[in-house]
C-alpha cells in the first residue's frame, strides 16, 4: 500500500469541511459540534482531514516538501478516524487511509518525531510501547492464573502494554481476571512472555515495526494453540481484530473485546451482576473499539470511471458504523443502580480521548487538551462518572482531570462490572 494508491480518493476532496464536524444531522448546537481534535485545537485547515489529504495530493504532484510545520501537522493527529466517518456520510472516498500512508511515508523517509523515536526504541528493545519498570506479568503475581505457555486454556486474556506496565492500570487486569474467574472461564495469560501487539507502532506510522511485532505476537498465539483472544484494551483489539486481518496475519483466531465477552457471559447466564452501583454515568466510545474497530473488509476491485465513477465489484466502504457500540452499553445498563446518559458525540462520531496516534508521547499537552474537551462533555450530561473501555483512554482522562481539577470519576467498564459482582 502507498500514498499513490489513494490519488483518486485524495483528488475527490472538495474542501467542504464536513470532516471537521460530526455529521450535520447530529449537531445539537454550538457545543460539541467538532469531531476532529486537531482542527479544533490548531485551527489551520491543514490540520483537518481534508487539509491533510489535499497536502497529500500536492505531494504526489510536486514531491514531499518536508518542513517543521508539515511534520507538526503530521504528528499532531490522533489518527482517530473521525474525519473519515464524517466525510463518508456523503462521499465515496477514503480519508484516513491516505492520512496513514502519508505518515508512513514520513517515517520511511526518516522524517520522524523524536519522542516517537524514543518510544519505538523501547519497543524494539523491550517489546513494549510503555517504558515500564519490572516485568510484564508483575500485575498477576499471586493470583494463580494459568499461563498459556504451559497450560491448556480456551481463552487467552491479552493484557496489553499500558495495563501491564502502568501500576495504576493493574486494577483493570485484575478486575478482568476476577470477572473471568467468577464466570468460570478457562482462561490464561501469557505473563512475562506477552509481547506488544504493535497497534500503537502502526498508529505512529511505523508499519514495518508493527508487522515485525505482529508476526512475533502471532507466533506466541499459535504456539499456545488458543482460538479465542479477549482483551480489555481498545488499541490491542483494533490491532488483533482489524490490522492483523488487513495484513493477513489473523488467521482464524477469534478476537473479542472484554465488553463483548462480558455481554455474552451475562446473556448466557454465566455472569450475574447483583450488587447495586448507584452512579450516574456516561460512556466514551474508544476510537479503536468503535469506528475503527469495525471488521476489516477484504475488497479487490477497480474504480471504473464512466459518467460517474463506480467500483467493480461494488466497494463495501468501512464507514465506522460496525464497531463495538452496543455490548459495552448493554453491560453498563445491566448493572443494577446505574443511571446511564449518552453524550452528544457518540458511536461512529465519538470524540477521541486524545491518546491516539502517539500524541500522548509527541505532544502530551494536546492529548490532555483533547481529553479535557471530552471531560467537559461528560460533565454536561450530569454524569458523576465517565466510563470507558480502554486503559489508554482512562489514563488520558485522568491526566485531563488532574489538569482541570474536575471531580468527575473515570472507570473502565471492567471496574464497574467488578463492583457489581
Amino acid at each position: 500500500m502507498s500514498l499513490e494508491q489513494y490519488q483518486a480518493d485524495m483528488g475527490m476532496c472538495c474542501r467542504c469541511s464536513a470532516c471537521k464536524f460530526i455529521p450535520m444531522q447530529k449537531i445539537k448546537g454550538s457545543s460539541y459540534s467538532y469531531v476532529c481534535p486537531s482542527i479544533a485545537r490548531y485551527n489551520f485547515h491543514a490540520y483537518s482531514g481534508g487539509g491533510r489529504i489535499n497536502i497529500g495530493s500536492a505531494a504526489l504532484k510536486n514531491g514531499m516538501n518536508y518542513t517543521d510545520k508539515l511534520l507538526d501537522v503530521v504528528y499532531n493527529c490522533q489518527m482517530c478516524g473521525g474525519c473519515d466517518t464524517s466525510c463518508k456520510y456523503a462521499m465515496d472516498m477514503e480519508v484516513l487511509d491516505p492520512i496513514y500512508e502519508f505518515r508512513i511515508k514520513c517515517i520511511e523517509d526518516g522524517k520522524t518525531n523524536p519522542a516517537l523515536e524514543k518510544v519505538m526504541a523501547n519497543l524494539r528493545k523491550n517489546g513494549a510501547m510503555v517504558a515500564g519498570k519490572g516485568e510484564r506479568g508483575a500485575w498477576a503475581k499471586g493470583l494463580g492464573l494459568k499461563n498459556v505457555t504451559k497450560d491448556k486454556v480456551d481463552v487467552l486474556f491479552h493484557v496489553g502494554c499500558q495495563t501491564s506496565f502502568n501500576p495504576d492500570m493493574w486494577k483493570l487486569a485484575k478486575a478482568t481476571a476476577n470477572i473471568l474467574q467468577k464466570a468460570g472461564v478457562n482462561f490464561g495469560i501469557t505473563g512475562d512472555a506477552e509481547t506488544c501487539c504493535g497497534s500503537r507502532a502502526y498508529q505512529m506510522g511505523y508499519r514495518e515495526d508493527f508487522l515485525k511485532q505482529a508476526k512475533k505476537y502471532m507466533a506466541i498465539v499459535k504456539k499456545a494453540g488458543v482460538k479465542t483472544i479477549v482483551t480489555d484494551c481498545a488499541d490491542c483489539y483494533h490491532a488483533l481484530n482489524v490490522l492483523y486481518d488487513k495484513y493477513e496475519l489473523k488467521g482464524d483466531i477469534e478476537v473479542m473485546h472484554i465488553s463483548q465477552y462480558i455481554a455474552q457471559l451475562i446473556e448466557k447466564g454465566k455472569l450475574k451482576l447483583k450488587k447495586k452501583v448507584n452512579l450516574a454515568v456516561t460512556y466514551h466510545d474508544p476510537c479503536r473499539l468503535g469506528r475503527l474497530g469495525e471488521p476489516w473488509i477484504k475488497w479487490n476491485g477497480k474504480r471504473k470511471q464512466s459518467d460517474r465513477f463506480i467500483f467493480d465489484p461494488p466497494k463495501p466502504y468501512r464507514r465506522g458504523v460496525n464497531g463495538i457500540y452496543e455490548p459495552p452499553r448493554d453491560v453498563i445498563k445491566a448493572i443494577p443502580g446505574i443511571k446511564f446518559t449518552e453524550m452528544t458525540r457518540i458511536k461512529e462520531y465519538s470524540w477521541c480521548c486524545g491518546a491516539g496516534g502517539g500524541v500522548t508521547d509527541s505532544n502530551p499537552e494536546f492529548a490532555t487538551w483533547t481529553g479535557q474537551q471530552r471531560i467537559d462533555e461528560a460533565i454536561s450530561t450530569g454524569a458523576e462518572a465517565l466510563v470507558t473501555a480502554c486503559p489508554w483512554c482512562e489514563k488520558t482522562f485522568n491526566d485531563a482531570i488532574k489538569a482541570s481539577g474536575s471531580n468527575i470519576k473515570i472507570y473502565d467498564i471492567v471496574e464497574l462490572v467488578e463492583k457489581a459482582l
Partner: protein
C-alpha cells in the same frame, strides 16, 4: 513570494506566533496556489489591524470561512476565520441572530430549533458559514439573498469599521437599512463578481418561525440516518407533472397559498442522490425514479402549527397537485425515505451527495430572477447537456435542471448542474463550453443576464453596472488589496 521577516513580525504581533504561518508546505491544504501567509485572527480588532497592515505593505488579502470555494490570486495573505466561530446573540423577541463568520449553519440551526426558530440556509449545506448569503431549500418560508442579512459589522478594505443599519445608530442588530447607514447595494446585494471587498466580521441574520420539533428523532448510523417517526404535523412528498407548464402553475399556486415550508425543485437525479448512500445505489435509484416520474417535478415539505393547520395545508396541497395532474412519487411516500428527506432537506446535510459524490466535481449556472423566464431558459439549457451525457463527459441525469419558487413563487432560483470527473480535462472543457454557450443564450434571448460571466456585452446592456462597480470598489479599496471573486463559504 514570502513575507519579509519584518513584515511577518508585524502580522505576528497582532495574532501571536501560533496563529500565523507562511510555510508553503501547508498551503495546498487551502488551495493550489502560493499564499504569502495564512493568518487566524480571533476578533474584529485583529481583523482591522491585519487589514491595515495589508494596506501599509500593499499586500492583497482574502478572508475565508470553512473554505469550500473561492478564487485565490497568487501571493495573497489569507485570513482563515476559523477562530471567529461564536454565536454572539439569539434574539428571540426581535427574531434575529448575530454570528461570527465561522459559525456553521448546522450549529446555529440546532440552537434555533430548540427555540422554535429557523433561518435561511444556503443550498451548499449546513457545513457552510451561517453568514453565507444565498438560496436554499426553505426559500418559500425564509426567502433568500439580501432579504436575510440585517445589520452587519464590516471591516472595509482599508481597515475601517463600518456598522450598517440599526447597528450604526443604536447598537442593535434588528435592521439592515436603518436607522443608520444601509449600504445594502454594497454589502448584501447580488452584485457580482464575487463578494463585497473587505471582511464581514459579524452579521445579524433574520429568523423565522419553525413549526417542527426541537430536534429530529434521528436514528441509525451514518451514512443512513433515518427518523424513528415522522414528526407530528409534518409531511414530505415529491410530485411530478406531465409538463413544465403544469408544474410551474402548481408551484405558483402553492407559493401564493403560502402553505409550503419548503418547495425545492429537485429532479429525479437529485432525489436519488439524496436518499442513497453510494454511487452504485444512486445510479440504480435514478433509473428507478426516472421510470416512476411522469415529467418534471418538485419536492415539498409542509409543517403545521397544529393538527388543524396541518390538515388545511395538506388539503390545499393535494388539491393544487390534483388540479395540475401531479402525481406523488411512491418511493418518497415510504416513511423511511420520507424521513430521510425531511431531515436532510431541513438540516441541509446531503448537498455534497448531489454535487461532488458522482464525479468529483460539478459546475453550474445559478440564476436568480423571474421564475417563469428562468424556467423557459432552463429547459433549453438542460437539453443542451444531452450531447455531453451521450459522450460520457458528465453524469447522466437525463438532462435535468432544477429550480424553485422563492417567497410566493414569482421570484425564483434556477440552477443546472453538470457533474464530472475533475481529472478529465476534456470533460472539464466540455462543461465550460456548455456553461459559456448557455449563459450567452440566456442573454441574447433576453431571459436574463448572468453577471457571473465575463461576457463583455452584459455590462453595457445593464447601464454599465460593471464600470460603476469598479469605481465603487476603487473608492473603497484605493490600494487594491481586496481582490474580487469567490464566495465566503
Amino acid at each position: 513570494m514570502a513575507l519579509s521577516k519584518d513584515v511577518y513580525k508585524e502580522f505576528e504581533d497582532v495574532v501571536g506566533a501560533e496563529n500565523i504561518c507562511s510555510d508553503p508546505a501547508i498551503m495546498p491544504a487551502y488551495y493550489s496556489t502560493e499564499f504569502a501567509a495564512v493568518i487566524l485572527p480571533k476578533d474584529t480588532a485583529e481583523v482591522q489591524a491585519l487589514v491595515k497592515l495589508c494596506n501599509k505593505h500593499k499586500l492583497m488579502f482574502r478572508p475565508i470561512c470553512t473554505g469550500w470555494s473561492g478564487m485565490f490570486p497568487k501571493n495573497i495573505v489569507l485570513f482563515d476565520l476559523r477562530r471567529m466561530n461564536h454565536i454572539i446573540e439569539i434574539n428571540e423577541k426581535n427574531m434575529y441572530a448575530v454570528v461570527e463568520p465561522y459559525v456553521i449553519s448546522a450549529e446555529l440551526q440546532a440552537e434555533l430549533m430548540k427555540r422554535g426558530l429557523n433561518f435561511c440556509i444556503k443550498g451548499a449545506g449546513t457545513n457552510c458559514s451561517a453568514m453565507l448569503r444565498g438560496h436554499g431549500h426553505m426559500d418559500q418560508t425564509t426567502s433568500g439573498d439580501d432579504r436575510n442579512h440585517l445589520a452587519i459589522e464590516w471591516v472595509t478594505p482599508e481597515g475601517d469599521l463600518v456598522k450598517s443599519g440599526s447597528l450604526g445608530s443604536t447598537d442593535d442588530w434588528f435592521c439592515g437599512d436603518g436607522p443608520g447607514p444601509s449600504l445594502r447595494a454594497i454589502l448584501t446585494s447580488a452584485v457580482p463578481p464575487g463578494v463585497t471587498p473587505g471582511v464581514f466580521t459579524k452579521a445579524a441574520v433574520k429568523l423565522y418561525h419553525w413549526p417542527g420539533p426541537e430536534k429530529f428523532p434521528v436514528v441509525g448510523h451514518s451514512p443512513k440516518y433515518t427518523l424513528s417517526e415522522i414528526p407530528a404535523n409534518m409531511m414530505a412528498r415529491y410530485y411530478s407533472f406531465p409538463s413544465v407548464e403544469k408544474m410551474w402553475n402548481a408551484e405558483l399556486k402553492l407559493g401564493e397559498g403560502e402553505i409550503c415550508y419548503e418547495l425545492m425543485g429537485f429532479n429525479a437525479a437529485m432525489v436519488a442522490a439524496n436518499i442513497t448512500t453510494c454511487n452504485e445505489e444512486d445510479e440504480a435509484m435514478f433509473n428507478r425514479l426516472s421510470k416512476e416520474v411522469q415529467g418534471p417535478g418538485f419536492f415539498v415539505i409542509i409543517g403545521g402549527n397544529s393538527a388543524a393547520d396541518f390538515a388545511y395545508k395538506k388539503k390545499v396541497l393535494e388539491k393544487i397537485v390534483k388540479d395540475n395532474d401531479g402525481k406523488s412519487l411512491k418511493t418518497v411516500e415510504d416513511p423511511e425515505i420520507e424521513g430521510i428527506l425531511l431531515c436532510q432537506c431541513i438540516r441541509i446535510s446531503a448537498s455534497i451527495r448531489e454535487t461532488f459524490r458522482p464525479g468529483g466535481a460539478f459546475n453550474s449556472i445559478p440564476i436568480m430572477g423571474q421564475r417563469d423566464l428562468t424556467i423557459k431558459w432552463a429547459i433549453g439549457a438542460g437539453k443542451a447537456k444531452l450531447p455531453l451525457i451521450k459522450s460520457g463527459h458528465i453524469v447522466d441525469d437525463g438532462g435535468a435542471f432544477f429550480g424553485w419558487g422563492v417567497e410566493q413563487g414569482h421570484l425564483g432560483k434556477t440552477e443546472i448542474f453538470c457533474k464530472f470527473d475533475p481529472t478529465n480535462e476534456v470533460a472539464k472543457k466540455a462543461v465550460e463550453g456548455w456553461q459559456k454557450q448557455e449563459t450567452r443564450r440566456a442573454f441574447t434571448e433576453r431571459y436574463f443576464a448572468s453577471t457571473l460571466s465575463m461576457d463583455p456585452d452584459v455590462g453595457p446592456a445593464l447601464c454599465n453596472y460593471d464600470q460603476w462597480w469598479k469605481k465603487l470598489v476603487h473608492a473603497l479599496d484605493p490600494n487594491g488589496v481586496s481582490p474580487e471573486g469567490g464566495s465566503l463559504v
